[in-house]
Symmetry: C2
């Protein structure tokens, strides 16, 4: 079984820093060293300040000395890092990522990580719309769902990944990468674009006085990091396109109900309200 | 000038109760009596408990003894009440409503309220997604925008309505009804339908474990009262249809940018992010 003595985190934005903080906060788990790297020196310094990481890496390859390498950059860079580091991974090492799109990641892992090493696609469902290491709040990992997408069947690396997820206080949920991407397109990726579209349309409203609390809620996701959102949307474009078509059909259905009589729209909205209540309250 | 001694509130849901509480909480404004009516006896009782209203009315026509009549029901009932009460209004009386769609209301006021009486379309931009008199929080009126839509040019009733809005602690914003409806379709009515559509799509997601905080924010408006939402959507259907078409075009534009390269989507999202930051934080 893979040791968890030394962990490297590449990408020290909100998620990478949060993971580093959670690992350092629980020394009883036995992680001896947390090494970090980011192409942005300021983000790396901030992560070290917050997580108390033991080592700053000069370059991503420095991570190859660690037992577990966690890729927490935007998805496009995750794929690049898999290409760079994957072929150099040795037996017993584990590569895990935290990106929001999983098919491209798992495909790259399958291609570039040798079978002797381990690789698992990961996606912690937590985080805030604020950006960077200073927005990291490790308590958000507590009880959060951490999706794990197998790269190869019956891989022992899944067990290691599960141990790591437990150490973070999160709850592992195993899901195939294509199923993850189909569902996340609907529950997350498209909602980010919708919030951006509504925000863009709010530009027609000539005065702040007409901005309601409802609108503020509707555009909240549009305050997310553009690079991060673009990265997971572009890495999951087919599913996001399909979800967008579904959304516009749903809107057409609601508007057709409205046109055929208020009571028909009420019935549709009653059903949607029950769904919304199931989704829960922030 | 219209006296403000006696105010009647028809419809004691969240907004009607909130208005009643705000009027009773500030006796220095000189409102001597707040009478209330709702077709739901329990809602009327709850409003009386919370606002300490002086009189429960047996029927809407009881409001004709008041100086100011505030219609705070869903929009379709507002129009019915204008038809019933409007022709019976006398000199110096003011009819004001709180509905979210204003063209149908202002049109009905123009048709049914005699020129000797006064009528103004109103829309306070505040409230929560929770329903009913127990969700009323008069502090939400403090500093909130209260749109006033003139029914007739140079009407003295606008001055009375402005005084009432000031008494509530809100900020009056004069706007033509058609402009109000065009803007609100984009900033509020369509976002309610979008939240419902996303909530409906979340039904495909098989486990609560995949519901993120982003999704919870995106479906928040779908927890609103279906009757209320259906009422203002159906009363503003042309503008909501136009806004829906705009939204789907915006989504297509974002997806086309994504297809042409991640950096193009980043640029679009950067712009939307600035808009979202202008809209502000809840």
């Amino acid at each position: 079984m893979t040791a968890l003595d030394r962990v490297a985190i590449l990408g020290t934005g909100q998620i990478g820093t949060m993971v580093g903080m959670a690992l350092r906060a629980a020394p009883e788990h036995g992680v001896m060293e947390v090494a970090v790297w980011d192409r942005d020196q300021a983000a790396m310094d901030a992560c070290q300040q917050r997580a108390g990481s033991d080592r700053l890496l000069d370059e991503p390859r420095g991570a190859l000395e660690s037992d577990v390498i966690i890729l927490a950059t935007p998805v496009a860079q995750i794929v690049e890092l898999i290409q760079e580091l994957g072929p150099r991974l040795g037996p017993g090492q584990l590569l895990l990522d935290t990106g929001s799109s999983k098919q491209v990641v798992v495909r790259a892992m399958r291609q570039f990580v040798p079978e002797t090493a381990g690789a698992v696609g990961g996606h912690p469902l937590c985080g805030r719309s604020e950006l960077g290491p200073w927005a990291a709040d490790p308590s958000l990992l507590q009880g959060a769902t951490f999706v794990l997408c197998p790269v190869r069947a019956d891989s022992p690396s899944l067990r290691t990944a599960r141990r790591l997820v437990e150490m973070l206080g999160s709850v592992a949920l195993e899901l195939d990468a294509d199923e993850h991407d189909r569902l996340l397109a609907r529950s997350s990726h498209l909602p980010h674009l919708v919030a951006a579209a509504i925000a863009e349309m709010s530009g027609e409203v000539p005065t702040r006085a007409l901005f309601s609390s409802g609108l503020r809620g509707a555009v909240r996701l549009a305050r997310s990091d553009p690079a991060m959102v673009a990265s997971f949307v572009c890495a999951n474009l087919d599913e996001v396109l399909a979800a967008s078509r579904d959304l516009c059909l749903q809107l057409d259905r609601l508007l057709a109900a409205a046109a055929s009589g208020e009571e028909h729209l009420v019935a549709e909205l009653e059903r949607a309200r029950l769904r919304a209540l199931q989704v829960g309250v922030n």
